[in-house]
């Protein structure tokens, strides 16, 4: 396994780990959004979906632990890469002008850290229901409606999802390059897919708290 150790310690190996764990999380986020949008199909649709998920028992826990491992590895390798990057330029420029880097690509650490705190809050709020113990008895639909009637709760979800969109609008395009997929024939699609996915996810997720806030879903 010496090849694996060398690979995991190399710059390209660590970058690939960030890209692959990111890709796995993107898969989850897309599936999660598709499930959540059932809220617009009415109380029974989303409650049924939730029951179906919970009926999977052990399988659900395997998925949860796998996902948590993805988050953990993603963060581990980004921290490793970032410390290395800081170390590579010990003296800063007095004047530095950026010509091509976009705000989304320059704020990946920031958007990532906000996402991390969002994930912690979101799990505590709707998965483990420790922020509102009374949720334990409620069905998912009622829980969502009563949560998102609070502007503060809605706002924190919307902020989280806008930053998810920002993170992925660079991240998803970037992971193709990291994994070696760059070809003039496909580059227009690759360049577009990150921003498109970012906007779709941010709007899609935010539509739920916004609709509840404005009484469109009650």
């Amino acid at each position: 396994m010496s090849w694996f150790k060398q690979f995991a310690q190399s710059s390209i190996g660590a970058k690939s780990a960030v890209a692959l764990t990111g890709l796995a999380m993107v898969g989850f986020v897309v599936a999660h959004l598709s499930g959540n949008l059932l809220v617009f199909a009415g109380r029974d649709a989303i409650n049924g979906y939730s029951e179906w998920l919970h009926s999977k028992g052990a399988l659900l826990w395997v998925a949860r632990i796998g996902l948590l491992a993805m988050v953990g590895l993603h963060i581990f390798f980004t921290i490793k890469l970032n410390l290395h990057n800081k170390d590579a330029r010990p003296v800063a420029y007095v004047k530095k002008t950026y010509t091509k880097a976009k705000p989304t690509s320059r704020s990946m650490v920031l958007s990532g850290l906000v996402l991390l705190s969002y994930i912690v809050y979101h799990l505590a709020h709707l998965t483990f229901r420790v922020t509102n113990p009374e949720f334990a008895q409620l069905d998912v639909y009622t829980m969502l409606i009563s949560s998102f009637r609070s502007p503060m709760v809605s706002l924190s979800y919307i902020v989280g999802m806008v930053l998810l969109g920002a993170h992925l609008s660079h991240g998803v395009t970037s992971l193709f390059q990291t994994l070696g997929l760059n070809h003039p024939k496909y580059n227009p699609i690759i360049r577009a897919i990150g921003p498109i996915l970012g906007v779709v996810l941010a709007l899609g997720f935010s539509s739920i708290p916004v609709s509840v806030l404005f009484g469109l879903v009650q």
Partner: protein, 259 residues
């Protein structure tokens, strides 16, 4: 034209450096950036001060020696142009210009604006070669190379090793340089025998020299005087992934003798 220059002055690798301001009152727009510095240096010498040290050789954009960060952009504001080919007509009368050395841990400062780029030489030594059989020369064109491939190899081979990509990168990553060197040989039939080993060894050396990791922001491509494309970075990633995962593992000493 009249200019105000803020220049990084540093006696040697051990001392602290600082920005020092100089007036350049008599600059012709036809001068190159380096000629402008020559004139400033003449004045400094006449006044008995130490001239500003900067690196240069060919002054025609082919050797990769010149290396100045000009107003925060490697090789200055003109696209696809080395510092030596940059002319003062790209600036306006009264401009203030910040001039700094490339900054990277792997490029320690020797003096003022001169940095030690031998890390690049060691990356080349780690894999920038092909095996050639001794004996009579082969017929030209006996190895067919598609035009497309030859063009791409030539594009990668344009890299002059100036280090602007490292200087511009927020992570001081050398991936554009290394990928150009991995690719221009790896694209051609003559470069196939060492292709996997080349990717492994050059990337390993690049990491060892203390360059940062690419975060795909492409500042390097924007400043590269030879317009090396980031497409080559993806190609190097591909070669490296392929060599690591499908290859036969770290290199064993070749040559048949004892290690």
């Amino acid at each position: 034209m009249k200019l105000k220059l803020h220049v990084w002055r540093q006696k040697n690798a051990k001392t602290q450096g600082k920005m020092v301001t100089y007036d350049a009152p008599n600059v012709s727009p036809h001068m190159s950036f380096l000629e402008m510095l020559d004139v400033v240096n003449e004045d400094l010498i006449a006044k008995g001060e130490e001239p500003i040290a900067f690196e240069h050789d060919c002054r025609e954009g082919i050797c990769g020696s010149c290396s100045l960060m000009i107003n925060g952009v490697a090789h200055g504001p003109q696209k696809a142009t080395t510092t030596c080919q940059l002319h003062m007509r790209t600036f306006k009368d009264g401009d203030e210009i910040y001039i700094e050395p490339w900054r990277a841990k792997a490029f320690p400062i020797i003096k003022d604006l001169v940095v030690d780029r031998s890390a690049f030489d060691r990356i080349i030594q780690a894999g920038g070669y092909v095996s050639v059989n001794a004996g009579g020369a082969q017929d030209a064109n006996c190895l067919p190379v598609p035009k497309d491939t030859a063009d791409q190899a030539m594009d990668a081979a344009q890299c002059i090793g100036c280090g602007a990509c490292v200087a511009a990168c927020k992570n001081a990553s050398a991936m554009l340089f290394t990928s150009a060197k991995v690719s221009h040989l790896g694209l051609l039939p003559q470069g196939q025998p060492e292709r996997q080993r080349r990717a492994l060894n050059m990337v390993q050396q690049m990491d060892k020299e203390g360059f940062g990791n690419c975060t795909n922001q492409y500042e390097c491509e924007a400043v590269c005087p030879k317009e090396i494309s980031v497409r080559f970075i993806a190609r190097m990633n591909r070669d490296y992934l392929n060599a690591s995962i499908c290859g036969s593992g770290p290199e064993k000493k070749a040559g048949g003798g004892e290690d």
